[in-house]
Amino acid sequence: MMQTLKEYVKKVKSGELIAVRPPADRALAVKLVNDCDLLRLKVIARLHGRSLPPDVSWADLLQEAFARVLDGSRAIPPQVPAVAFLAGVMRSIKAEHWRRRRRANQQQPALAGEYQVVAADWTEACDPHPDPERWLIASQQLAAVGMLFAQDAVALQIIAGLGDGLTAEEIRRTLGMGKTDYDSARKRMRRALIRAGLTMGVPQ
């Protein structure tokens, strides 16, 4: 393993290590996206990172989405904004990872069996094969997202509504809020999400 960051940089400069240009940076160079789009996609990737299997990072997800668009394996349809399309590609890559994971878990019948005993009471009938690992990650991440808005009771109610699959209008009606109050709560939520998505170090 490389001993220091300085040494790594030295090796890259001397050509001993090839500095690979990340796909996102290449997309910027060909003007597929701009700097602000990259910030937006980073925040979205970190959001999706909350429901990824542990061996995949948000950065992997983001770079893979760019790589697929750049190599032509996912073509952006006309009239679809690149950022929205890339977000969709990230979603589908995430689903692929979980499918792969599920196939691997099928080789662990003992663990799955034990889990069923615990989960049987509150498992939705629509999905007969809940993934224990995914369940655990989701519980932890729902709590983590809740912590982001711990001081904002309205935001917590909106989150609960989104988790229940309600639309913005349905949530607003359910909460009996005026449009202005609702919009300002959404703005506070976006601000917290953006901070969490751009911050470094400890994941939030």
Partner: protein, 92 residues
């Protein structure tokens, strides 16, 4: 939330993703500035993992550096170098 956690989390992420897709650019720039980052600066920490080193590689490098400085702590996997969390170290 009245659904299974994995279902609820995916719905929540989808809803929040839509919020982020519709947010004005200024909110992202302001968010970066709030954290002491300047996205207009080349090599800004705001783009860590996007245009440059991934957080995983950076963390591995920090760990390797810490091990070299203090071999007795070797093998302390998973520790986070707090300096890595400080944007000023990368943005200034």
């Amino acid at each position: 939330m009245s659904v299974r956690p994995d279902v609820g989390l995916e719905r929540l992420i989808h809803g929040l993703e839509q919020e982020l897709l519709g947010a004005p650019d200024e909110e992202f720039i302001a968010g970066a500035h709030d954290l002491g980052m300047n996205p207009q600066m080349k090599g800004s920490a705001a783009f860590l993992g996007v245009k440059n080193l991934t957080p995983q590689l950076l963390a591995a490098l920090h760990r390797a550096y810490a091990e070299q400085r203090n071999p007795s702590r070797e093998g302390a996997e998973g520790e986070v170098d707090q300096n890595a969390a400080d944007p000023e170290h990368s943005d200034t």
